[in-house]
Amino acid sequence: MLSKQKLVEVKQLEKAFKVGKKQLKAVDDISFDIYKGETLGLVGESGCGKSTVGRTILNLYQATNGEVLYSGKNLQNGLSKQDRKYYQEKMQMIFQDPYSSLDPRMNVLEIIREGLKIHRQDLSTEEQKEVVYDLLQLVGLSKNHATRYPHEFSGGQRQRIGIARSLAVNPEFIIADEPIAALDVSIQAQVVNLLKELQQDRDLTYLFIAHDLSMVKYISDRVAVMYLGKMVELASSEELYDNPLHPYTKALMSAVPIPDPKIESERERIILEGDLPSPIDPPSGCRFRTRCPLAKDICAEVVPEWREVQEGHHVACHFV
């Protein structure tokens, strides 16, 4: 079962982008841990900063403030070239759009082998090919697919290629950024099952970024909810779904339609007013207060503290 060994520690992470003369804080002071062998789900609406968190952990974006530790080692700075290469091998990413994340001019063999060429120079070309063929089998494709080009595959198959590519260098930790959002319903379940199987066989740790709450609940051990650059709640997935504490989490849960007419007709729904405020000029205090049904004066003045209310259940709200 779950170990309590921390694989990734995110500490007070901040990432700001320059927008004209202003600053956009896409991620603002976020701290959390990812344990070895678990799947941490990260949910939130578009523009809440969830993808930025993923990319900053991988160092695809340079963090503005704070640090990311991987097995206790700071990844943000002070890494030697060799170390950097080592960690790049251990951490891989699966992207959302299987149509734009594969180079259309490379065939499948070349796409999957690209990582091996850099990280596994000890292998001969033939050996690398063998690795690719094994990977293709592993993700449910066949050896014959190796010479084909991405346009010859369907969305689900392309996503399998993307998964095979990320597995090529034997990573320990995979960030999956909306890996199923672009796929059809009947194909989504195939890919999710594949990800789960791979996790068991290869002892992988996932950060699963998505906006589909029912799928996130199914795949994740723990789920974190983000709103406008801040983390608002983090708990085990059962706990979060049975006992959501933050008013935003509650609204988000109730907005997800349940595909069962009877349950749906009996359910009371919280419909949030208004839209996401601009992250360039976010509301003072609690960022959710402009849409929060519970908002009082204190919410505009004081930023709610990120605290652990029960064991393993963190929330940032004045009224919990």
Binding site: S186, A189, Y218, I219, D260, K262, I263, L276
Partner: protein, 346 residues
């Protein structure tokens, strides 16, 4: 006046492409009753948008062939209408909301003007009257400060607000039928809930009949009273909301319901996906289009297309399992324990 406002009968639509003829829609049949909401559910490429666009006649004339069938609106076959005649229907009698609110508005034109344009096209109102009406519409769809927002450009609106504007335009002339093609797919869940609520609310106020096209069964539950499930250009099953969710008969519908995780699903149990991927409609074989992916496939499925069988007055399905010679298959449990199934077999 009959109960049915729009009916599509045996519609066949195909496209001429460099790779030959693609039969995108084959033998589609459905009726839309006054004031009801019908959902057309299917995956990408199943022909649901093509069906909608052929009702509106928005498909490119040059390459589209409507080989067979009729689309009857208020006792007139729309397929016999000329372009001019169709223009009087489009927007006035039947209007459409598109998926992507980012591209369905004109970025160089003020929002108010775009609503006014729709109104003046079909109604003889003065500019002033049309302007006031536009403002009313924006208020109706829940845009705050409608008066000031009339002068804003689409890029100044969020996705949800833009979709509200698109809905306002669609409703500008009190259409009798509204076709919404994936109206919430591009939106976030909390905004999706707002827009679905708005559409239901507006339907109550105006009595418009709605066809909602979606791939998301969750959206359907909230909106529709009847559902048509499409697969590879054909409607494989039609029924009321309850019939499709609690007593589905087609293995594809079973597969769709099974492949979705339920809120209370045990995480150690793997999901049950539909194996394989949707067929290439440019290269369809004889027989049932779902045969290649169907877990219950029989010999006959590969050779002959199943007929439509009536399960109840409102429920029909095209599947050889309905034939009396077919083995009896127990419906799989697709509720994940959320709901106790009525184990009613045929």
């Amino acid at each position: 006046m009959t109960d049915t406002i729009l009916s599509v009968d045996n519609l066949d639509v195909s496209f001429q492409t460099y790779n030959g003829v693609i039969k995108a829609v084959r033998g589609v049949d459905f009726d839309l009753k006054r004031g009801e909401t019908l959902a057309i559910v299917g995956e990408s490429g199943s022909g649901k948008s093509v069906t909608a666009k052929s009702i509106m006649q928005l498909l490119p004339k040059k390459t589209t062939m409507i080989d067979e069938g009729s689309i009857t609106y208020e006792n007139e076959n729309l397929l016999n209408y000329s372009r001019k005649e169709m223009e009087k229907i489009r927007g006035k009698e039947i209007s459409m909301v598109f998926q992507d609110p980012m591209t369905s508005l004109n970025p160089t034109m003020k929002v108010g003007k775009q609503v006014v344009e729709g109104i003046r096209k079909h109604q003889s109102l003065t500019k002033k009257e049309a302007y006031n009406r536009a403002q009313e519409l924006l208020e109706l769809v829940g845009i705050p400060n409608a008066k000031e927002r009339m002068d804003a450009y689409p890029h100044e609106f969020s996705g949800g607000m833009r979709q509200r504007v698109v809905i306002a335009i669609a409703l500008a002339c009190n259409p009798k039928v509204l076709i919404a093609d994936e109206p919430t797919t591009a939106l976030d869940v909390t905004i999706q809930a707002q827009i679905l609520d708005l559409m239901k609310d507006l339907q109550k106020k105006t009595g418009t009949s709605i066809i909602i096209i979606t791939h998301d069964l969750g959206v359907v539950v909230n909106m529709a009273s009847r559902i048509a499930v499409m697969y590879a250009g054909e409607i494989v099953e039609t029924g009321t909301l309850e019939e499709i969710f609690y007593n589905p008969q087609h293995p594809y519908t079973w597969g769709l319901l099974q492949s979705m995780p339920k809120m209370h699903q045990d995480r150690s149990v793997p999901l049950i996906p539909i194996k394989g991927s949707p067929p290439d409609v440019s290269n369809l074989h004889d027989g049932c289009p779902f045969a290649a992916r169907c877990p219950y496939v029989m010999k006959v499925c590969h050779d002959h297309v199943p007929d439509k069988e009536q399960v109840s007055e409102t429920h029909s399905v095209s599947c050889w399992l309905q034939d009396e010679r077919a083995p009896r298959i127990k419906q799989p449990d697709f509720t994940g324990g959320d709901h106790v199934v009525q184990t009613k077999t045929r």
